[in-house]
């Protein structure tokens, strides 16, 4: 499938900012399942950009802009060729071993309700792949999906208590539950075709299955990712794989607008 992505992020500030430093995880890495045919990040102000690869193997762009800045527009456009891999990731760069993805982070603490829910959902499953599929299906059935929205820092435990979940919350719940069952799991941010306009990048989870490798699970659909998905960044949680992490020096508030369209060419 040939997927076109047009992702615009606009920050408007109530007061001009003196400096902005942002870390962008907005560039997909090629694997055997996806290849970027074209990809471009552009910014509408005088900014310096530096590319690097972080410790998790993600392509990272540092963005430095000096003020006064009243607004900044980050635009990502590109085309990616994908194949359906049955949810299994092939040929990704993996500088860290699966075991690292067993550690808990502040965003993926389990809380009280999630462990019992997870244990119940996997009861009777014969192997780890089946356990993960059941966990994914159970999360899908239990949590009505909210539209994707900017990150408010919700933890997996808090999302579980609230009873509703964005794709970010659902992915973090999946990760927390899987790790609680001693299965390595990680957060993935990326893009997913769903026809209309979207308000934030999509998020899902990957878990490591011995013999298969990293396998994707999307609790929003209850299924594994297909050729309609583009993986961009992985991390231990939503914070670690955030598309844009930013700091600014300047007073006032910011308003964030996202216009995102993911479509089949």
């Amino acid at each position: 499938m040939r997927i076109a992505i047009d992702h615009r992020t606009r920050y408007r500030f109530t007061e001009p900012q003196a400096r902005i430093v942002q870390m962008l995880r907005l560039t997909p890495c090629d694997t055997r399942d996806q290849t970027a045919v074209s990809w471009m990040i552009s910014v509408d102000c005088d900014a310096r950009m530096r590319d690097a690869v972080d410790g998790f193997g993600n392509a990272v762009t540092m963005l430095y802009a000096e003020g006064p800045i009243a607004a900044i527009d980050i635009s990502v456009t590109g085309e990616v060729l994908t194949v359906d891999s049955g949810g299994v990731v092939h040929g990704s760069s993996e500088p860290l071993p699966p075991m690292l993805y067993l550690r808990t982070t502040p965003r993926t603490t389990l809380g009280d309700g999630l462990p019992a829910f997870a244990a119940e959902s996997i009861a009777g499953a014969r192997d780890s792949l089946e356990r993960l599929h059941r966990l994914n299906a159970a999360l899908h059935a239990r949590f009505p999906c909210l539209p994707d929205a900017p990150d408010t820092g919700l933890t997996a435990a808090e999302a579980f208590e609230s009873g509703r979940a964005t794709s970010r919350d659902a992915a973090q719940m999946f990760i927390a539950a899987a790790r609680g069952l001693e299965m390595p799991a990680r957060y993935v941010s990326g893009y997913r075709i769903d026809g209309g306009a979207q308000s934030a990048p999509h998020a899902w989870a990957e878990a490591y299955v011995e013999g298969l490798g990293w396998v994707g699970f999307d609790p929003v659909t209850g299924l594994s990712p297909d050729q309609g998905y583009v993986r961009v960044a992985v991390g231990l949680d939503a914070h670690g794989a955030a598309s844009i992490a930013g700091t600014r020096i300047g007073a006032g508030d910011e308003k964030l607008d996202v216009a995102l369209r993911v479509s089949e060419e």
Partner: protein, 488 residues
């Protein structure tokens, strides 16, 4: 308890009337100087420290009062040959720590060899995936190591803890010496004591040696969390004695993967940062996002090789208590020889057999939290109450992987002023080892901490410990060597 039979570094096993032969002269000085005079000098030193503001905060104390660390006027003394042997072990250990960090954030050969259980690295928060794959400028990770040692006999030294993050306490070494020079000048006339006042120069040399690129005049700064930090005195003292800027995060900006410091004359590129901020708070984009102490983009600049951070982020994996028990294997793996400085025997409670032994001998062991520090979360079996032992037993059974246990050692003592006059008190020792691109150096001195309560083995300043000056005696005829240097 443990003071009976303990080795006294001046009196040996013989008591005040029968000192170790090499220490006869010093023992005489101790005996001949009236107690009241020693008391007076000690109070004078403490008054000076209070005025300087060398204080520390007691963590876990709700009053959070800043206190000064008590100072003891009787110095702790190393003979030159004792010191030389010690240095060999310190250099070997520090080189191994650097090699271990290089390996663990790079190729991870030691894990492929199966010498350390991989979960102790990967599931340990002290292993920082954020800096995996980065090689610091000149391949130096632990520029400043404070290796805590204890002693049980003339040549029996054991490493208690490796401090490879941002070891503090060096200002005490320097200020204690200042006080001794002022208050006990006769000691420096009668004994040839190796000077320690070159430490700031050695540190600056070390910093310059690891600057990225070949700038002959690299810009070095000290980064402090600010004057509310309990070690702020040390930060400003070191910056001052090195003649470099003391900065806070707000003074630094990263632009185009380069670190700049704002000065009155405009912005200046920074090459080397001696940071006294923990990893977590170093860069909100790489570590804790809510941190206000950090410099956004600092890790990107570091990854790009444009700045040296002293010490390197991620070093916590080398001085972690869970890794400590593997240090003899680590030293052997990287140096090719047996560790010259042994560890204290350590039971890893994560191993069922060790746990059983520990539970059966709680009244004889010291039990420590793997992730605790400052003497908190610790059980000293021989002096613990039944209730404390029961509490630790339950904690150990619930979460054995969080604990290690060690035998209580008969720590050496040094004569120390007490209410009842001079008496032996247990000590430990933190020497400071510097590693630059030009090799490893040990400052001839260090920080001696002393447990002021009779029989106590806990030297932590937060638990009633004090400090002493630490002399390294030069042998007659030997030139006053500034430091021991050994190529890396």
């Amino acid at each position: 308890m443990a003071s009976r039979g303990a080795f006294d570094e001046i009196w040996g096993h013989g008591g005040p009337g029968n000192p170790r032969p090499e220490f006869a002269a010093l023992s005489e000085w101790v005996a001949d100087t009236p107690s009241a005079e020693l008391q007076r000098r000690q109070q004078s030193a403490e008054a000076a420290f209070r005025q300087l503001g060398i204080t520390f905060a007691v963590y876990g104390d709700s009053e959070a009062a800043e206190r000064i660390i008590p100072f003891d006027i009787v110095p702790r003394v190393f003979l030159q040959q004792e010191w030389s042997r010690l240095c060999e072990g310190l250099v070997q250990r520090t080189q191994a720590i650097n090699a271990f960090l290089e390996d663990i954030y790079g190729e991870r050969r030691i894990l492929k060899e199966g010498l350390i259980p991989p979960e102790l690295i990967y599931r340990n928060d002290q292993f920082r995936p954020e800096v995996a794959g980065i090689r610091p400028p000149h391949g130096v990770w632990a520029h400043i190591c404070g290796i805590d040692l204890v002693r049980t006999g003339p040549d029996q030294f054991f490493v208690l803890e490796d401090n490879a993050r941002t070891p503090s306490g060096v200002s005490y070494m320097l200020e204690n010496r200042e006080a001794m020079l002022r208050l006990c000048p006769e000691l420096f006339r009668d004994f040839r004591v190796a000077p320690v006042d070159s430490y700031p120069d050695m540190l600056l040399e070390t910093m310059r040696s690891v600057a990225p690129g070949d700038n002959p005049h690299p810009v070095c700064v000290v980064l402090t969390p600010g004057h509310f930090n309990s070690a702020y005195y040390e930060h400003s003292f070191l910056a001052d004695s090195m003649g470099i800027e003391l900065v806070e995060a707000a003074d630094l900006v990263v632009d185009d993967d380069i670190v700049w410091v704002q000065t009155i004359a405009g912005r200046v590129k920074v090459d080397v940062i001696y940071r006294r901020i923990d990893d977590d708070f170093l860069d909100p984009l790489a570590f804790r996002p809510e941190s206000l102490l950090g410099v956004p983009g600092l890790i990107a600049a570091y990854r790009a090789g444009n700045v040296a951070l002293i010490n390197a982020p991620g070093n916590g994996i080398a001085d972690d208590k869970a890794i400590y028990s593997y240090m003899p294997e680590i030293v052997k793996f990287y140096s090719g020889g047996e560790a010259k400085l042994p560890n204290v025997e350590t039971f890893r409670c994560r191993e069922p057999q060790a746990l059983k032994y520990v539970l059966d001998h709680l009244d004889q062991l010291v039990v420590k939290l793997v992730d605790g520090s400052g003497g908190y979360g610790m059980l000293v079996g021989p002096t613990a109450t039944k209730a404390q032992i029961a509490e630790f037993r339950a904690a150990l059974i619930a979460e054995p992987h969080r604990y290690i246990a060690q035998p209580t050692l008969a720590l050496s003592t040094v004569p120390t002023m007490s209410e009842a006059g001079l008496a032996p008190r247990h000590v430990d020792f933190r020497p400071f080892v510097l590693t630059g691109s030009d090799g490893v150096r040990v400052v001839p001195g260090g920080l001696t901490r002393v447990a002021l309560r009779e029989g106590s083995l806990v030297v932590n300043s937060s638990q009633g410990g004090g400090t002493k000056d630490s002399f390294v005696l030069l042998e007659d005829g030997a030139g006053p060597s500034q430091s021991q240097r050994q190529g890396s």
